[in-house]
Structures are given as C-alpha cells and as structure tokens.
Amino acid sequence: MHEGQQPKLLIIDDDAHLRESLAEVLELDGFECHQAGTAEAALAAAAKLLPQVVIMDIQLPDSSGFQICQHLRKKSKSTILIMMTGRFLSAEEKKQGFELGADEYFTKPFDLAELSVRIRQLLSRSRV
C-alpha cells in the first residue's frame, strides 16, 4: 500500500441501496469503495482488489458474513474486518466473531462519522 493513496474498501451487503449509500458516504470521506452483493462476488473482488478494509453484513443470501470473515482473515492478517448487523448479537456470538477474525461490530443504523473515525483508527494501527 502506498502512502497518500486512498484506502481500498470492500462493502458486502445484499441490499444494493445500503451498499451504494454507504460507499458514497465513505467515498466523501476519502475511501476507495468497492461493492459486492453476494459472498461469491465478494470473495472474487477481495482476491482481485486486496482491500485494506472489508465491511460486511453478517447475513448474506448465499453465505454467512462470519464465513467470509474467517476466509478473508486466513488470507490476510492485516485486513480490517468490520461486521454489520441488523439484529442483536449475543455476547457469545460476538465472541465467536472476534475469534474468527472480526475487528469491530456496528449495528444498523450506525453513526457514519463514528464508523469513519473507527476505520481510520484501525487503519493507522494496522500501519503501525
């Protein structure tokens, strides 16, 4: 990754509006955003683009967000993996997610400013 270059983000959600709105907001914040609607497309995009940050819904039509999370973590230890959820997660579920490689959870609808700050925080740490 090069300094000054926009960080690459991959947003995975089956809801196109959510993907787009989130991508466009984060693009305003200076991220290079890519999108995927299915697990298959997401894995292909991740392999091709090698994003620094992946934001994914834990529920997808063809797979679970945690499975993608696990897969991506195996490929790269540095990729920042952020989980989005529409429902409450039990402490047990959250713990399991962290063990599979998740870095952060956000419950929909989330504070975008907070999300943006958190991503940059995590990015700066991974760089260190």
Binding site: D15, H17, L18, S21, L22, E24, V25, L28, M84, G86, R87, F88, S90, T107, K108, P109, F110, L112, A113
Partner: protein
C-alpha cells in the same frame, strides 16, 4: 299415618272370631228353630185334631143320649101294651125333660101315626102315614134309625131318631110299633160356640158328608142354607182316616190349618180350622225372637272381637310405627314398645335388639360418610388448588409462547426495518456532508435534515425496545448491594432540571443478585415514565427498604396525575400504551425483568396524587 288405622290383622282376627263363634252358633240356632217350629206345628195340628176328635165324641154322645132315651122308653115293658093315654104321658115327659126334642110320635107297625106330641104343635095335630118312608122301613127291619137331617121351621138343623117298640113277651120279640123323635141340633152349635168363641180365630163346624151344616161355632154366621165350602168338603171326602189335618190353601189364596174327626156311628164330620198365621204364631214369634237374640249376639261378638283384635294387634301396630320411624332414620323418640309375654313380645325383643344394632351401624355409616365427605372435600380442594396451579402454569405458558411469537416476529420485523433505516441514515448523512457549508445558508433544509435524523433515532429506539423485550437473553446475575446499585444508576441518570429527586435509601445495602443491564433498563423505564408524566415540574421519590419475607424493596414514586383504576391493571400488558408514541413495552419490560429476578412489581396510584411502583426482590442467599 298408618298408626290411625286398625290394621288388616285386626280385621283378620275379627273375621276368624266371627267364623269360629257365630257360624256354628248360627247354624245350630237355625236348626233348632226349624226343629222347634216343626214340633210346634205338629203340636198345634195335633191339638186341633184332638179338639176335633173330642167334639166328635161330644156330638156322638149328644145323639146317643136321645137315642138312649127313646130306646129306654120303647123298651119299657108296659110301653107296647100301654094305652095311648099312658104313652102320651111318657111322650110329654120326654119333651119336658129334653129341650132339644122338638117332636115325638108313636107309629103303629102299619106306618100310621098313633100319637104325635110337639113343642110347636097345636092341639090335634095331623096324623101322618109313614108306611112307605125310608126311615120307617129301616127301623122296622133294623130296630133303630138315625138320620133324616132337615131344617126345622126352615132354620134349625134337626135329626130324626127312631126306635122300634118291641113286644118283649113274644118269642122271638117282634116290633109292635115305632117311637120316633125329631131332635134339634142347635145345642151342638151352642157347644161349639162355647168351645170356639167368636173372639178367637178358630172356627169349628159339624157337617154331614153331603155338606149339610149341622152346627157351627159362630152362631151369628149361621144361615139356613149354610154349607161347608166345597173346597174343604172335597178335601174331607177324600180322607180315609177317622181323623186328620194339615195345611189347606183355598182357591182365594187363604191358608188354613184344618183338622177333622169322623163322628162315630154317623156319617158326620167335625171340622176345625184356623188361619195358618194364627196357628203358627208361636212358631213365628219364636223365630223372630231367636233372630233378634242372634242379632244381639252377633253385635256383641263383633264388638268383643274388635276389642280383642285391637288389644292383640296393639303391640304389633306400635312395633310397626317404631319400624316406620326407624326406616326414616329416627332412632330417638321411639314409641313405648309393650313387652307382652308371647310371640309378639319375642318379636318386640328382637325388634329392640335390631334397632339398637341398626342405630349403631347407622352411626358408623354416618361417621364414615362424614369422613368420606371430609376427605372428598379435602381432595376437591387439592384438585382445585392443583387445577389452579395448572391453569396458572398453562396461562404462563401461553403468555410465554405468545411473547415468544411476538418476539420472533418483532425480531424479524426489527431486522428488516433496520436495513432501510440504515440506508436512510446513510443517505441523509451523504446529503448533509455533500451540502456542507451551504447548509448554514439554508436553515430550513438543515432543520428538516435534523428532523429526519431525529426520526431515524426514534424509530431505532422503538426497534431496540421491541427487540430488547422479545430477546431471549440469558440472565447474568451479579451480586451487588442494592443501595449502591441504585445510587450509581441515579448518579448517571440525566434528570431534567424541572424534576426534583427525593431519595431516601435504607443504608442497609442488602446484597441482591441482579442482571445489571436488565435491571438498569427496568428502572430507567420507570423513571423515564415518571419524567414523561411530569412535563413541567414534579418530584420523583426513590426509596429502598426491607420488604416482607426477607425481600428487599425499591420504590419509585412520582407526583404526576396518577393512573385511572381501569387502566391501572393493564399497564404491564405488552403493547398497551396511552402515549401518542410508544411501544407499550416499557412496563412490560419492567415486569419481565423483575419476574426474571424472582421478584414482583406492584403499582399503586391515586388520580391527581401520583403513582408509586414497588419492586420487591429476593435478597441474595449467603
């Protein structure tokens, strides 16, 4: 009531008495009466017969008297040889002595009348010729004659008696003339009249065999042409016996008792009659008297039998009455039972024994029944209690299932709404960021963006509330001091400035096991409600105190408008709300949380005064 009846047994005994006593007696009486009556009738008849016979004898003697007079006169030695003057003297004398002699004559063997003297004859009466007369021929051949009945002077019955005057010196004696006399038979009637007075019912008569009425007891009834009635005459003619008698029924229907006797030597009959009822009066009287005696005896026997029957059956009836009462379950107050010295007494003894045993057994049964009832009641109560518990458990289960279903639905809905909400949120954030500084110049757009943001927050809040309520999260209790927990909660709670917090904690700080997150949420909900109902100013009272049965109490009260009683009991129901915007889950969450902690929440409210929630929680076990 049966006791007032005499009872069938009494009637049976009565019937037996009657059968045993009266029937033979009645039969005997009947036979005796019959025998006596027969005897009486026989006696009456024979009496009547003997009267007839007696009178027949009298008649015979009467006639014989005159015959003898004539015989004596004719037999006088001198009479045949007497001169007529002398003979006349004799004749006169006879007429003088015997009043019944109406006329007396002397006739020569040629049939010419020589002398004629009569009671009603004038001087020198006509001398008659009798040579061809029947009686003259007979007297000449036989020596005597009695007959020739006639009505003297057309009225009085008279009889001719003639005897032959014999020449005793001649060998053999030969008749030399006839002495004949006409005898009045009126005397017979007089004698009959005396013997059978007209006041009596008996009538007697003397008749010739041709029906000529010779004498009659009733002189007044005597007529010149009187004859015995043909009916009787016919009967009398057919009799072969010298005497006899019996019942006679006349053609006119009259019944008579008749008796007859032939008069010896004459072709005459003495006939005596009386009406049958008179003849048998004695028998009839005897019969009626016997009957009346029998009726009296019958009545007395019935009365006595009844008394005896009642006397005998009395103890049985009392027994029966006692048995009736026993049958109705009245063991006390039984009638006095007579202990007679007989089979009935034995029965009474047996009955008493039986009633005692029955009483005992019934007592046992009753007490067993009571036990059973008690036990049944106990069982019923148990069953009822269990049923209630089951019902409560079932209700609880239903509620839980319903809540689980609601939760499931809410979870799905919440999740599905969160996505679009997130999209809206993202979009408005994009717009806001994009517009950036230009927003400051257009205050209205800024305001509307704020409204959208606030509505997103509120919608999210609602979803959170629903999901919180429906979440089947596992309880994570921690041991804390209750007062410390409350203190901490209040210290961070953002009370608005118009609210006064009146806090009095017990300071005993009892240890309780709480899921901090949930219990905080519950208390926040209560406090939040309290603040909402007091928009201008008010007091929130917070108290902790020891509760009942080793529990700890937390009270949160407000000075708001209070809750109407009809609303009060619904406030813990999920989705019940009185607010314009609200899920109706705030207090439902409170109850759910408290109950998950094995505690209970109560509410007390006075309209116009305020509302107090009281949460009691079990103290932690050491």
């Amino acid at each position: 009531m049966a006791a007032t009846r005499r009872g069938k047994l009494a009637y049976k005994i009565l019937f037996c008495f009657l059968l045993v006593s009266l029937a033979p007696m009645g039969y005997l009486a009947y036979r005796l009466v019959n025998i006596s009556q027969a005897a009486l009738r026989k006696e009456t008849l024979s009496m009547q017969e003997s009267l007839a016979v007696g009178f027949a004898d009298t008649v015979h003697k009467y006639v014989m008297t005159f015959k003898n007079v004539l015989m004596e006169t004719a037999g006088l030695e001198e009479f045949s040889s007497m001169n007529p003057a002398k003979q006349q003297q004799y004749l006169n004398r006879i007429i003088q002595v015997h009043l019944a002699v109406l006329e007396i004559s002397v006739i020569n063997p040629a049939g010419a009348e020589l002398l004629r003297t009569g009671r009603f004859l004038g001087a020198n009466p006509e001398m008659r010729k009798f040579a061809s007369e029947d009686f003259f021929i007979k007297v000449m051949s036989r020596g005597q004659y009695i007959g020739r009945l006639e009505r003297f002077q057309r009225l009085y019955p008279a009889l001719t008696i003639a005897v032959a005057v014999m020449d005793t010196k001649a060998k053999p004696p030969r008749p030399v003339g006839v002495l004949t006399a006409k005898i009045s038979l009126n005397g017979l009637s007089s004698m009959l009249g005396m013997e059978f007075p007209p006041t009596g019912k008996s009538v007697a008569s003397v008749v010739a065999s041709d029906g000529f009425m010779i004498a009659h007891s009733n002189l007044e009834a005597y007529q010149p042409d009187a004859r015995l009635s043909e009916d009787i005459l016919k009967i009398l003619r057919t009799q072969s016996e010298e005497k006899g008698g019996g019942d006679i029924t006349l053609a006119n229907g009259a019944r008579l008792l008749g008796a007859y006797a032939d008069v010896k030597g004459l072709d005459w009959i003495v006939y005596v009659q009386q009406p049958l009822e008179t003849a048998y009066q004695a028998a009839a009287e005897m019969k009626s008297q016997t009957l009346s005696v029998f009726i009296w005896v019958f009545l007395v026997v019935i009365l006595l039998s009844l008394l005896v029957a009642v006397y005998i059956t009395q103890p049985i009836r009392i027994l029966r009455e006692a048995a009736d009462r026993l049958g109705k379950g009245q063991f006390e107050d039984l009638p006095e039972i007579m202990m007679t010295d007989d089979e009935i007494g034995d029965l009474a003894q047996t009955f008493l024994t039986m009633s005692e045993s029955l009483k005992e057994k019934t007592g046992e049964l009753i007490s067993a029944k009571r036990e059973l009832e008690k036990f049944t009641k106990f069982l019923e109560k148990r069953v009822e209690a269990r049923t209630r518990e089951l019902k409560a458990a079932q209700d609880e289960l239903i509620k839980k299932e319903r809540l689980a279903a609601i939760g499931q639905m809410a979870s799905v809905v919440g999740h599905e709404i969160r996505n679009p909400l997130a999209v809206i949120n993202n979009s408005i954030y994009f717009i806001k960021t994009k517009l950036g500084a230009s927003l400051e110049s257009d205050a209205k757009i800024a305001k509307h963006i704020k409204i959208i943001e606030s509505e997103i927050q509120q919608a999210n809040g609602i979803i959170n509330e629903i999901l919180t309520y429906s979440r089947s999260r596992e309880l994570k209790p921690e041991r804390v001091g209750l007062d410390a927990f409350i203190e901490e909660l209040l210290s961070v709670y953002p009370f608005p400035p118009h609210i006064t917090v009146d806090k009095k904690l017990s300071a005993s700080n009892p240890a309780v096991d709480l899921d901090i997150t949930e219990m905080k949420q519950a208390l926040r909900n209560i406090i939040g409600n309290a603040i909402e109902v007091m928009p201008e100013s008010g007091v929130i009272r917070i108290r902790t105190a020891p509760g009942q049965n080793g529990s700890a109490l937390v009270e949160v009260g407000d000075s708001g408008p209070g809750i109407a009683p009809d609303v009060l009991d619904k406030i813990f129901t999920p989705f019940f709300t009185t607010k314009a915007r609200g899920t109706g889950l705030g207090l439902a969450v409170v109850r759910k949380v408290v109950e998950r902690h094995q505690g209970r929440v109560d509410v007390e409210s006075l309209v116009g005064k305020g509302t107090t929630f009281r949460i009691s929680l079990p103290k932690a076990k050491a």
